[in-house]
């Protein structure tokens, strides 16, 4: 257990207590730390009294996730980590963009620790690609789930070297009060899905929605929950603009209809265009 902040489990421990709705614990790969959530067992009803009465609850259904997200938020802050939740449809180029971003970050800020939490239904293909860039990554497989939640992100964070390495950050008194660039970056690549992740707070500083020019400029109107929840929209694959019928201005206008305050950047993971501005945003943004 982390004695600095009281968090975490022993490295390599495979049975984590889980209060996911289906009551199961994730299976953890001892070597990589990758986590696999699966299907559930039936719950059993609780016997009790037979008098009929009304119980007033007024309980927010997402309150447990919100509570865990706030814990994540505090945990990240205590370790000087700035976390971003990257959301998009499948195939927008999130993983390629992450690989390009990490490569550029390494040359601009070689001493900045960067880690990735990768969400998919199955396989560790994406986490493997990230690890090849030199950044550490934990794959979280949701099984049949369609989004990452705060519990999964909290558990994955505990497995990361970023977590233990950034304990040194907490030790120096001046670092606790410093308002400056992040001391460590955690990039969370959510499951490819433009609907469900909008509702689940992970404890991130901001949600970044990635939309590629092969997808259609009216996406923000068709998926308003997600574009409303995002702080930044990244328009990706701009190297393909000469070959597709994508109107960038119309896309930005659509996004501003559902979210007047959304910020916009255009990038190409393959050509590198716009990546430096995106990195500036990552390094300067405050939650």
């Amino acid at each position: 257990m982390c004695v600095v902040c009281g968090c975490g489990q022993e490295r390599g421990e495979t049975s984590l207590k889980s209060n996911t709705p289906d009551g199961t614990s994730p299976r953890i790969d001892k070597q990589t730390g990758d986590m696999h959530f699966g299907a559930s067992a039936a719950r059993v009803s609780v016997p009790g009294m037979s008098e009929i009465r009304t119980l007033k609850l007024e309980k927010d259904v997402l309150s447990e996730n919100s509570r865990l997200a706030q814990l994540n938020r505090a945990h990240f802050a205590a370790h000087g980590v700035t976390a971003y939740d990257l959301v998009s449809s499948p195939g927008s180029g999130k993983t390629s963009l992450l690989c390009k971003t990490i490569a550029q970050l390494v040359s601009r800020r070689p001493s900045l620790p960067v880690a990735v939490i990768e969400g998919d239904q199955q396989t560790s293909l994406d986490a493997d690609r990230i690890r090849q860039t030199g950044a550490s990554a934990i794959q979280v497989n949701t099984g049949r789930g369609c989004h990452l939640d705060a519990l999964m992100v909290g558990k994955a964070f505990e497995q990361l070297g970023l977590h233990s390495a950034s304990h040194e950050y907490r030790e120096s008194p001046e670092s606790l009060n410093t308002i400056g660039p992040p001391s460590a970056l955690l990039l969370i690549e959510n499951v490819g899905n433009l609907v469900c992740p909008a509702m689940w707070d992970l404890g991130e500083a901001a949600k970044v929605v990635i939309l590629s020019v092969t997808e259609g400029a009216d996406k923000p109107l068709k998926y308003p929950d997600m574009f409303s929840a995002a702080t930044l929209m990244l328009i990706n694959k701009i190297d393909l603009l000469p070959y597709v019928d994508f109107n960038v201005e119309q896309c930005i206008e659509s996004a501003r209809r559902v979210n007047p305050d959304i910020q916009v950047l255009s990038v190409s993971a393959s050509s590198g265009e716009g990546i430096n501005d995106w990195i500036d945003w990552l390094l300067q943004h405050r939650g």
Binding site: R53, L55, L57
Partner: protein, 113 residues
């Protein structure tokens, strides 16, 4: 579908209440799902019914309020109603509005025995 995740959370809340307040079953489950909460009501109802069997929710009536979303238009400084995120202000046609009521999905109360 996230409606299934949400239904799972509802079941957890109800089962915590059952352990704390000691009841045998729920006769009626009363929920509030505001218009801009991002939930498909039919899918949510289906998910709840699917998860209910062999639990304390088995056979419960499911009552779902769908309160309208109140919002404040910053452009014309008036209280308005909205149904979708992409709706314009019904008075001035602007898009600069903020929700003024809560969008949380809630378990309001339970009729239990």
């Amino acid at each position: 579908m996230h409606e299934l995740s949400l239904a799972g959370s509802v079941l957890q809340i109800v089962e915590s209440a059952a352990a704390r307040d000691v009841f045998k079953r729920v006769r009626s489950l009363h929920l509030s799902v505001p218009a801009l909460a991002g939930v498909e009501i039919a899918a949510f109802r289906f998910a709840l019914q699917s998860l209910a069997s062999h639990t304390v929710l088995d056979g419960a009536d499911i009552i779902i309020d769908e309160p309208a979303t109140r919002a404040r238009c910053d452009d014309c400084d008036t209280d308005i109603h909205v149904v979708h995120f992409e709706d314009a202000c019904e008075l001035c046609g602007g898009y600069r509005w903020q929700c003024s009521n809560d969008r949380a999905i809630r378990v309001v109360d339970l009729l239990v025995e």
